[in-house]
Amino acid sequence: MTTESITMAGNKQTEEISREVMRIQAGVLAMVCAVLGGLLLFTMTVWLLLKDGPGAGPHLSLLGNYFIGYSVSWFGSILGLVYGALTGGIVGWVVGSIYNLVVGFRK
């Protein structure tokens, strides 16, 4: 089955209930991804600290290459919260916006 034919089969069935194609509210997705991203990085950092103490998480610390100042430390966990939220927010917004753009274009 080609991508197109799979999509067609799915479309036919969903159309019985709804003819609409979902639009994503980019702002809302950005917010959700920001919360998830921030919490994820914060929790991972804190978890490693609690489990292995200072010097833990050499691999996670490599994120410092992208997030200036980030390390697996208590201060790093706060920074991670901010960076995670920022990155999540941007990713969510970009995904939502591109999705809507493509949907609009395909219509």
Binding site: E16, S18, E20, M22
Partner: protein, 612 residues
């Protein structure tokens, strides 16, 4: 005699079409063979007792019809509780069927066998579902089918269930669109979008104070007030046509007097077979042969008057027990107390489904009354000495038969009738469709509107999902042409109006576009990987990105180099696209699976009412 429109038959379909024509300012004459109006929905009177042909519940999901009923009868329209059970080999079972009650009544061994056969049907359903036996067995198992469906259905139709088209059953539940099933499930059992409770249609129904005939007598009077005459006692036996137009109909009174009526428009609710046979000149042989092979089941009711205040609490009981001939028994007093002249008495309607060729059809009334008394005693309902009087009503062509090829034959006839545009056929026997009053009436309304130029497809009533069932009255006000919209060259009732609940469902079940999500995730992952590689490269160092480079295990050819960043961009995009597409498909299929599950549940519930 001449008039604007001529309507054949003063049953619900014919009278409703005349009523609608009157509203549209077109006068009509209604020709009725019988001395009474109402057709199959008449009420017969006998020594102060009133009874229906069967029992006529008034329930409809078509708001327009509910409005018409209220408009005609207003406060004489009672809301009655429904109770009906199945009598099978000495036991009473709840109807609609309830699993626990049915299994308890059958006893442990039979219940075990029923469960086995149910499981078998679920695991190995019959791949073919063309006849009623396969249709019901697939849903309930062979054993339950034999106990609760086979005997009764065969009594009604007089032919084996495997010769009855599955359409008959499917027609009863087909109106459950996926959307409706979801709406019912999400908004609470049986609530329509407006919050109207639909399930209660099963638990209670409307009924005119003096029986269904009261509605049609009233309709006749309303028509007469507007100058539209109903002429009784004339049986139409010729429909003269020339050059693609019907010019007149010829009928005979019982004394043989011939009467001819001409009109501009003709609307017929006489049985389709008879309509074709009456055409003058006759249609081509193929059409005539198709009409001649349409079959109808006939019906008679033996009404017994019992010297007892309460015989049983049900409105009616289905008699599945094979040892008696009767198929159903009505207790008219439980439909409306005014159906009996004296509250210390009850009247019971024993229903026999027959062919006119059957011996019983020709039996004298006394012999039939004796049979009824004997069978009532046999199943333990009333003792013979409690019966003080009885009468019999015979009704020909009560049920249009859905045998295997009826649909093809009806199609042939329908195509031919399209060559006579000023003749429309409507109603139950007129369309050879197992319609209740509401759908019969709706065809009458459509036909009347077609007279003023609309293009409604009367054949689509009670066949197409979503449309007429969900027509909202508010739509009626939206256009002068009523609540129809055009589809091709025909108008069909408007599909579901977007109300609040529908809007919520539309949004919640909106399709996630797989390509769009694929592109979005493709861009984010591809560009993300490209940027991640570039940042490391720009930072430099002795070993650049040894960990990120491990991604080559998944992305062939990827490495943390300038060239690798481009490979990462391409492969990351592809991976992202696939992931996005997969997520969207999974979510869409998940939502569909959920919707199908809800519909399956609702269908099983609806299938339990298939005997009605």
């Amino acid at each position: 005699m001449s008039s604007g429109a001529l309507v054949i038959g003063a049953g619900p379909a014919g009278l409703t079409s005349a009523y609608e024509l009157a509203k549209l300012g077109i006068s009509s004459t209604i020709i009725e063979a019988d001395e009474q109006v109402g057709g199959l929905s008449r009420t017969v009177s006998y020594k102060g007792y009133r009874f229906d042909i069967g029992g006529h519940r008034f329930f409809s999901k078509v708001p327009l019809i509910n409005e018409l009923w209220r408009e005609m009868l207003s406060e004489d329209f009672l809301l009655r509780p429904r109770l009906s059970r199945i009598h099978y080999r000495g036991h009473f079972f709840d109807y609609p069927l309830k699993a626990a009650n049915a299994l308890a009544g059958l006893g442990p061994i039979e219940a075990f066998l029923v469960m086995l056969s149910y499981s078998k049907a679920k695991m190995f359903p019959s791949a073919e579902e063309t006849n009623l036996e396969q249709w019901v067995s697939n849903r309930f198992g062979q054993r339950l089918y034999e106990i609760f469906f086979k005997t009764y259905t065969e009594k009604v139709w007089g032919i084996p269930c495997n010769e009855i088209s599955a359409d008959w059953a499917a027609q009863r539940i087909k109106n459950l669109s996926l959307k409706e099933a979801i709406r019912n499930a999400l908004l609470g059992a049986g609530k329509s979008a407006e919050g109207e409770v639909i399930t209660t249609l099963i638990e209670q129904f409307h009924y005119p104070r003096l029986g269904p005939g009261m509605m049609w007598d009233c309709c006749k009077d309303l028509l007469a007030e507007k100058g539209n005459e109903t002429v009784h006692g004339i049986k139409v036996d010729k429909i003269r046509h020339r050059k693609g137009r019907v010019e007149s109909v010829v009928g005979h009174r019982s004394n043989g007097e011939r009467v001819e009526f001409d009109a501009d428009h003709f609307i017929s609710s006489m049985p389709l077979r008879r309509l074709i046979q009456s055409l003058d000149p006759l249609p081509p042989d193929e059409v005539l042969a198709a009409a001649n092979s349409l079959r109808y089941r006939d019906y008679l009711t033996v009404v017994l008057m019992a010297k007892r205040e309460d015989v049983f609490p049900d409105n009616w009981i289905y008699i599945h027990s094979p040892e008696v001939k009767m198929g159903r028994i009505q207790n008219y007093k439980n439909w409306s107390p005014e159906m009996v002249p004296d509250q210390s008495r009850s009247s019971l309607g024993l229903e026999y489904f027959l062919w006119q060729q059957d011996e019983e059809w020709t039996w004298s009334n006394d012999r039939l009354i004796d049979l009824g008394i004997k069978e009532c005693a046999q199943i333990g309902l009333v003792e013979p000495d409690e019966i003080e009087d009885g009468t019999v009503v015979r009704m020909k062509k009560a049920y249009p038969v859905y045998d295997h090829n009826y649909n093809d034959r009806v199609d042939i006839i329908r195509n031919y009738l399209e060559t006579l545009p000023n003749l429309q056929t409507i109603g139950r026997n007129g369309l050879h469709r197992y319609n209740n009053q509401d759908h019969s009436m709706l065809t009458g309304v459509y036909a009347a509107r077609n007279v003023v130029g609309e293009k409604n497809d009367v054949w689509a009533v009670n066949t197409e999902q979503d449309y007429h069932e969900e027509v909202r009255s508010s739509e009626t006000e939206k256009s002068s042409t009523g609540y129809t919209k055009t589809m091709g060259d025909r108008a069909v009732p408007m599909p579901i109006v977007q109300d609040e609940a529908d809007q919520i469902i539309q949004t919640a079940f909106a399709r996630l576009d797989g390509v769009a999500l694929g592109v979005a995730l493709g861009v984010v992952i591809g560009v993300g990987l490209f940027l991640a590689t570039m940042i490391l490269l720009l930072k430099g160092g002795e070993f650049v990105g040894p960990r990120l480079g491990l991604l080559r295990n998944f992305l062939p050819g990827y490495e943390v180099t300038w060239g690798g960043s481009l490979i990462g961009l391409a492969e990351g995009s592809l991976l992202g696209f696939g992931l996005g597409f997969f997520i969207a498909s999974l979510r869409n299929w998940g939502m569909m699976a959920y919707a199908y599950l809800l519909r399956r549940r609702a269908e099983t519930e609806a299938a339990k009412n298939v005997l009605d």
